[in-house]
Amino acid sequence: MRFHYIIGILLILSGCGDNSQLDHPASNSDNIEENIPEELIVEYAENFQLQRIDQGYLIEIINPNTGKIEKSFKVRNDEPKRIISLTATLNGMLSILNSTELIVGISDINYIHSPEIRKRFKQGKITEYGDETTYSIEKTISSQANTILYSGFGDEFPNHKKLEKIGFLIIPIYDWRENDPLGKAEWIKLVGILTGKEQEAIALFENVKAQYRETQNLVRNTNSDPTVISGNLIGDIWYAPAGDSYMAKMISDAGGIYKYKDIQGTGSVERSIEQILKDNHETDIWINPGLGTKRQIGKMNPHARHLKAYNNLYCYSTNMNLFWERSAAEPHLVLSDLIHIFHPEIAGANELFFYEKITE
């Protein structure tokens, strides 16, 4: 069996294999269908585009640093995918679409929450490959995979040419660079296309969108306006989300007042501890300190206790894997948590799903 597989690889490498279905950048001669379903139009996500083509889809990944198309490839409807997924978000989306049977590889089982993936790992159906900096090309080639999903940082996947030559589809995922919570969630459409479940993905996204709007409406008429700080001290600098970032938008949608909302940028705002104390001494609520206990927070940031919000501290880090897998696909649950924290008086706010209050 192994011998046959090696022969197969050699045939592909020598150009004798049938690579008519290999992925390659789309050319102008591709038969792009004009009648793309309206639901498949990408509404919120900025880092990928979809087009219907003959017998499948054309997916274009946009590099968030340059705003230009980084990679485009065709995905055929009849082409089964066997995926090495190195990104937590897409593991979560594959789980939500009940497609974990397509996963043959992950980066590290310690970073997995999904019970299905863990179960399949225990059964030996899923293997650990490390991340893109530590993976083994030989192990990857000898796997049964044909697709690699990884978190894009603007650089090519290591050894991508060799892997693409033997038929691997390598897709950089930039969901983490989306600034609109619904933009992150919309990446499920891409996962839907890869798994052949585009209709389910569209339905799930539409449902999430509706729930997000509904949840957002809960705070429309509220009178309270709690002030919020996010982030923590790393070394001597406090990194807080910039005004156009995903978290700043979440705070705003949840009816929180964020001190740095007017500071432009999608990354982070850097402040000294003096500035944080000056700006946020009386801020009501502190979210996302990056650690799960006050002892750890005190060790990392001994001045934390001088913030009023130290007594109103919430984090998602007690179950980080759950957060990373599910929060992108289900932003309404994050929003619901934040509304629960910011406006406990609102009866419609659900119990906390991701977040927990840090008491000790």
Partner: protein, 332 residues
């Protein structure tokens, strides 16, 4: 006589410069605080007043820590250089900081509250520094070459780094994060309430050096000659290692590893004062070390608006070229 007078004048200048730099440091932060507010923050503290809070809990402890860390590391460096009769010795180069870091890493990674508490961290840092001090001293009996001993110190550093990496790989994300933050080094994590203990330990260590000024002066002529003059070498070595461990461990526990101060400042002091009298050298090292770290931290705060430079990186940026200069000077 002329040289002695010159050194007294220089010492007086350094003594006067220290409070001037300290005052400048107090006023160098990003938030505008008037001098009177520092006094008020100590005697009429209003916890609702943000400026009081910043002055009392950040500026004053940070300024005090700069002086103490600079002084302590410089004294430790001078002691090491004297003990090994090697101007390129220092707690960082000889792996004493690394030993301290290794034991702090142990205390962080165990997750046991007693060990991760302030006292647990200090105790671990002191034990690590002391043990590694003893190890490097043992090696000094085996190798006579200065370069070989420095290489052994570097290897000890690499060895402990490898152990720390292994510890990191088996630690939880939270423990790893807490340790990484500590390892970045910072002068501003100390609080006012911690200063009495830090000052007490620093003063104890510094006063301890008074008992070994005479033996240190004699050690310059070599151990064999010192023995002939009635110096109990074993006791002196143990006192030097103990004081170095106390001072290095104290600073490592509270500020993380800070490089090159202990190596560069005693050499700078020797160049300026041109004396082998260790009373003068110790006092000048403590004062100039304090001024040096105050200056580094002032520059860091001025640049903070544009770029953040960790204290450990800044001292290396300044210290490394100076050490190269010393090496070249010795070769010339």
């Amino acid at each position: 006589m002329k040289a002695e007078l010159r050194n007294k004048v220089l010492l007086l200048a350094v003594v006067c410069a220290l409070p001037a730099f300290a005052l400048l440091h107090l006023l160098a932060g990003q938030v505008d605080i008037q001098p009177g507010e520092f006094y008020d923050s100590l005697v009429n503290f209003n916890p609702k007043n943000t400026n009081h809070l910043i002055a009392r809990e950040i500026r004053i402890p940070r300024m005090t820590m700069s002086i103490i860390a600079g002084g302590a590391l410089s004294i430790a460096g001078l002691l090491m250089q004297n003990l090994f009769n090697n101007p390129l010795a220092g707690p960082y180069v000889l792996g004493i900081n690394s030993g301290s870091s290794l034991f702090v890493a142990f205390s962080f990674m165990t997750g046991i509250p007693l060990l991760t508490s302030d006292m647990g961290t200090i105790t671990s840092a002191l034990i690590g520094a002391f043990l590694f001090g003893l190890i490097i001293m043992s090696f000094s009996y085996l190798v006579k070459s200065h370069i070989s001993l420095l290489l052994i110190g570097l290897m000890l550093g690499s060895f402990t780094s490898a152990l720390v990496y292994i510890l990191q790989s088996v630690s939880t994300a939270e423990e790893l994060k807490a340790f990484t933050m500590w390892a970045m080094g910072s002068l501003q994590h100390v609080e006012l309430s911690q200063l009495p203990l830090i000052i007490t330990l620093f003063v104890l260590g510094s006063l301890g050096t008074l008992f070994i000024v005479k033996p240190m002066n004699i050690l310059v002529i070599g151990e064999q000659n010192a023995k002939l003059l009635g110096i109990n070498i074993r006791t002196v070595r143990l006192i030097i290692i103990s004081i170095t461990a106390l001072l290095t461990g104290l600073i490592t526990a509270y500020c993380g590893p800070i490089a090159f101060v202990g190596l560069a400042i005693p050499n700078l002091v020797r160049i300026i004062f041109k004396t082998q009298h260790h009373g003068t050298l110790l006092l000048a090292s403590a004062l100039i070390g304090g001024i040096f770290l105050l200056s580094c931290d002032i520059i860091i705060q001025v640049l903070e608006e544009y770029i953040h430079i960790p204290i450990n990186a800044f001292t290396s940026l300044v210290g490394a070229p100076f050490v190269v200069f010393i090496v070249l000077k010795r070769l010339a």
